[in-house]
Amino acid sequence: MDMTPNQPAGDDRDEVARLLPELAEVDLPGGRQRQLQEFLMSEIQRDQRESGAARRVQQRLLFATAGLAAAAVAAVAVGTGALHTGTVPAGSLPTDTTPQHTAQNPPSNHAPAPAFELAAQYAAAQPYTPPRPDQWVYVKDHKSNPSSIAKDKGQRQDEITEVWRSVDGLKMAEWNPDTGKFDTWTQDNGYPEAVALPTDPGKLLDAVRGQLQHEAGGVPAHIKPSDDMDSLLFGRLAMILESNVLPPPVAAALWRGIGMVPGATQEPGTVMVNGRPVVAVGRVQEGWRFEQLLLDAGTHEFVGYRSVAAKDHTFTSPTGPIRIKRGEVQFTITRVAAKFVDKAGQTG
């Protein structure tokens, strides 16, 4: 045994090296290294722009971008959210839901599909008791990953995700299925900002669009071309809705706001998801994924989220191209529970 603390020569390390086959390092595929480097540089620039007081606010709003890219990366389940628990007097519900048009949110010829309004009405009518500042938002989802991409990434085909967000906006927690351990960590989770969003859909769109435009300012052109503002806006609104237990007026405004995003549409008829008839509303993102918010066909209660290939698409994996057929479901998230609890780890 080598007794020199920092010098490994002549001991277990050399022996292990001898026992293992020679392994050459491989490069990142194609232009991926340069692409990821540009991504890093733009994120650094973005972080620098968002310094100081503005940074906290923006980071908190960023919670909502628990994007589908993140889900693809590491099975980071997005929460879902317009379900409410507790009670609140009906008198607290908004009476005027007509969106106000402003400079940023001009009136358009886009008539929202009826299901958005029905979902808003359902959300607005739910009982709700505001949480205490020391409570947590608990969201439990079932996620299935039947896609070719998920198989390539070795992701689980099915998993239950449980996430806790502190109502004060400062912490997050979850059961990690990879380690079997319960993790709690400090992270701005954006909950205080979400509950404070405008309850007028037009003003809400202005607020979120303004935030996105600020974030996009000066960002180099590495961002995917399909990341146009409408695409970002839809994704952000959907995630705010999904990740939280929100006051009914805010949830209703979000549904109406999503319906107003250009390209937002309703799939004709009903579709069967996990044996349940649902109405699917959403938007085709990045030119090929139809991202759908799922509503109970009878009540228009929000029940989940899924992503379906709207056309044939080829995904470039490090191990080769993956061809995705139109209609292939990328993932489906169904809500199991959403409520306020007293402690992280508590489920009821």
Partner: protein, 209 residues
């Protein structure tokens, strides 16, 4: 370099990425056995490095920042989910890989390299995670014991004992034919400050100047 990184000089991070992304990529694959996920670990590792930059020791005598990055990568690979949540906003902006022609020059050879690596990494799954981490850092990434200990935030003695256990298990795997040992003596592992550059990488470097 350490001072520039700690002060948040973006160009320092560009250089850092250029110099070490490949090492992080390979290290990540050796830990998790999946190339696509290893790409994600690369992005998350450098986002974490930016977030944690103020923890860097500015003493240049502390050497290359590669051990620091590999330590971050090890932590990220250990808990990709949590790190991804921390950077979920950024990941939503992560661009898809650009399509590469199926018959691009070198693709077949690269896939063969990847398959060979995958077989070895799969064979090592019987080692405990902590043992694989030490093995990957000390043997494949060329860190010395002190660097590996600093990267993993454990005592040097722990690194030694984990590697010793890994050696015993490997001996069994080789005896059982699960792992095929190298036939030709490899070059000694890189020492601190020594940068391993193969021919392809050198060509690429020249092209990018």
């Amino acid at each position: 370099m350490r001072q520039r990184v700690r002060q948040g000089d973006p160009e320092a991070f560009r250089e850092l990425f250029h110099a070490h992304a490949r090492a992080v990529y390979n290290h990540a694959f050796r830990l998790i056995g999946d190339w696509s996920a290893a790409e994600d670990v690369v992005s998350l590792t450098f986002l974490e490095a930016w977030r944690l930059r103020e923890r860097v020791d500015i003493d240049d005598a502390a050497g290359s920042l590669r051990p620091w990055l590999l330590g971050i990568a090890t932590n990220v690979a250990r808990n990709v989910r949590r790190t991804a949540r921390r950077h979920e906003g950024a990941l939503a902006r992560l661009p898809d890989a650009e399509p590469e022609p199926d018959f691009a020059e070198g693709v077949t050879a690269r896939l063969a390299d990847r398959e060979r690596l995958a077989r070895v990494v799969a064979a090592l799954r019987s080692l405990r995670r902590a043992e694989r981490e030490v093995l990957a850092l000390c043997v494949w990434s060329g860190l010395d014991y002190a660097q590996a200990a600093a990267a993993l935030d454990v005592p040097v003695g722990t690194v030694r004992s984990r590697l010793s256990r890994a050696r015993r298990k490997l001996t069994t795997l080789v005896a059982g034919g699960v792992v095929e040992p190298q036939r030709i003596r490899r070059e000694p592992p890189a020492r601190p400050g020594q940068v391993t550059v193969d021919r392809d990488n050198a060509v690429r470097f020249v092209q990018e100047i």
